[in-house]
């Protein structure tokens, strides 16, 4: 008997292990075949590989230190210091409807910093809170207007497109929400009667609103001026701002130092030491302000890490954003470079295909961009290098905006989750509305820019 059991057990282990091991074997075989047949001597592939590296180098030089790193600190600060409960109050079942729509359309900038929180929040607002209208409004605008997305879109694709993306997302999220509410008005009333209650954590005593606002404004100031681009003008306000951009950045950084001492109770001498070292770097090698900037960030990191409580929480949140997003972005940029290349240099996909499908600003191009965007899955922020590659290959600005709007809001995997929350019919209507709205926004934008 015992022997028989043992044999059974061993057999089961063997089968289970075999299943697991077999997957690994398949993976190895796949990678082996890929390299076995890799047409490395093909000139086009060689050029594309160089393009992938060149694009990644450009990102590393232009976007990581001055843009992404401050953006991570801002996103971390938002997720730690801004009370989400305070925002959710306006999205509850008893909330004022008008207010609920406005809050839902803009709160993504604060609540959707991590893309994995968007769907639970959407489901919560739908099931326990203000209902289908505000829930779908939040779902549409959230991923497009989170701080990181806005900052990187404006930094890589230009201010106009960044602004159009945020404004388009907010405006059309309200319209989509209202339409969903009107279409499914009857269902809503029945459902509301047996909704579970929303559990919100206790409201913690945070710092006053004006302090938070000031703190965020100073960090946004650092971000904006460190990235201030030169213009063609040689006089006027913008030229003045460009000439003194590092002085202005330094002043904002000084402001941040004062805030850290006053409101975060950081020891003043720590800030002073970092400020002096940063200043020495800035004055001794003025040709490379990036060096001083990096020293300043490193100093800030050490200071935050040596102070328990809020400063450490802030650093931890910042670090978890960086850990989550940087690897995805690296892979996204490499793949975008390989497939799409850069301006004037084709990647693996011929430019002609792209300009045929989404070139110009025809209705057809916009529809195509919206539909593809709706179904395709973009890992956090990777829509940006991909859209950049497409624009360099001849995609029009209208379709680009359509893709940016429909892309992060929907993907095949999250459609399935949305369906499990609100059913097939409502999901289909929502997808249709997203595609239509993204198309209209893109088309309108394309006519003017």
């Amino acid at each position: 008997m015992i022997l028989g059991d043992l044999a059974k057990c061993l057999l089961r282990d063997f089968i289970m292990n075999f299943k697991k091991e077999f997957k690994i074997l398949l993976l190895f075989a796949g990678i082996f075949l890929l390299f076995y047949f890799l047409p490395i001597e093909n000139i086009r592939l060689q050029q594309s590989l160089v393009e992938a590296l060149a694009l990644t180098k450009w990102y590393a030089q232009e976007h990581v230190l001055l843009c992404l790193i401050p953006a991570f600190f801002i996103a971390g600060a938002i997720s730690v210091f801004i009370s989400q409960n305070a925002v959710m109050k306006y999205l509850g079942a008893k909330a004022n409807k008008l207010l609920a729509y406005s809050v839902a359309s803009v709160s993504g900038s604060v609540l959707a910093v991590c893309s994995c929180t968007v769907l639970p929040l959407f489901a919560g607002i739908y099931k326990m809170g203000a209902g289908i209208g505000p829930a779908t409004a939040f779902l549409y605008s959230g991923p497009a207007i989170n701080v990181l997305a806005i900052i990187l879109t404006a930094n890589v694709l230009g201010f106009e497109l960044g602004f159009a993306r945020a404004a388009g997302a907010i405006l059309f999220s309200i319209i989509i929400g209202l339409l969903m509410h009107l279409i499914f008005f009857k269902d809503e009333e029945e459902r509301n009667n047996n909704a579970p209650a929303m559990v919100l954590g206790a409201d913690e005593e945070g710092r006053p609103l004006y302090q938070n606002a000031f703190f965020m404004a100073v960090m946004v100031g650092i971000l904006v001026f460190a990235n201030w681009n030169s213009t063609n003008e040689t006089s006027g306000l913008f030229y003045f701002l460009y000439t003194y951009k590092w002085v202005i950045t330094a002043l904002f950084s000084l402001g941040l130092g004062v805030i850290l001492v006053q409101w975060f109770k950081i020891e003043w001498w720590k800030i002073l030491v970092v400020a002096i070292i940063t200043a020495i770097f800035a004055l001794s090698i003025p040709a490379y302000p990036v060096a001083a900037f990096t020293i300043g960030v490193a100093g800030l990191t050490i200071i935050l890490n040596t102070k328990e409580g809020e400063p450490q929480d802030w650093l931890q949140a910042t670090w978890s954003f960086a850990k989550q997003i940087l690897p995805l972005l690296l892979i996204g940029v490499l793949i975008a470079g390989l497939l799409l290349g850069r301006m004037g240099n084709e990647g693996l996909i011929p430019s002609e295909w792209i300009s045929n499908l989404v070139g110009g600003n025809s209705l057809q191009s916009n529809v195509f961009a919206s539909v593809v965007g709706a179904f395709m899955y973009f890992a956090t922020l990777t829509e940006i290098p991909i859209v950049q590659g497409l624009i360099d290959n001849g995609m029009g600005y209208g379709p680009a905006l359509a893709l940016l709007l429909a892309g992060p809001a929907l993907s095949l995997p999250n459609m399935l989750v949305i369906r499990s929350v609100m059913g097939t019919k409502k999901t289909l209507v929502f997808i249709t509305l997203v595609v239509i709205m993204a198309t209209i926004t893109g088309y309108t934008y394309g006519m003017y820019f």
């Binding site: 991590c114 929040l121 489901a123 919560g124 099931k127 326990m128 559990v199 978890s320 929350v421």
Partner: protein, 77 residues
């Protein structure tokens, strides 16, 4: 036997909460089981929207953040 449920769709923060909870429960030396609730509709039944969240014996103790191990100990006891 305490039933510790981690509510979350599987983002890094949820895994961190699971780790910290395990650590807290082990250091208290109590009998416990940890369950990860990843299905969004089940999470909604708890009334939770801000993930990750921790429920002890079916009662939600914290939402939307990962508390320190010491704080979790207090919630479990």
């Amino acid at each position: 036997m305490k039933k510790l449920q981690i509510l979350g769709t599987g983002c890094p923060k949820c895994n961190k909460l699971a780790e910290q909870t395990k650590e807290a429960a082990e250091s208290l030396g109590i009998e416990f089981e940890i369950e990860k609730v990843t299905d969004i509709t089940k999470i909604m039944e708890f009334g939770v929207m801000m993930t990750p969240a921790l429920a002890v014996d079916g009662e939600v103790k914290v939402t939307g953040k990962v508390p320190s191990v010491d704080d979790i100990k207090k919630m479990i006891q």
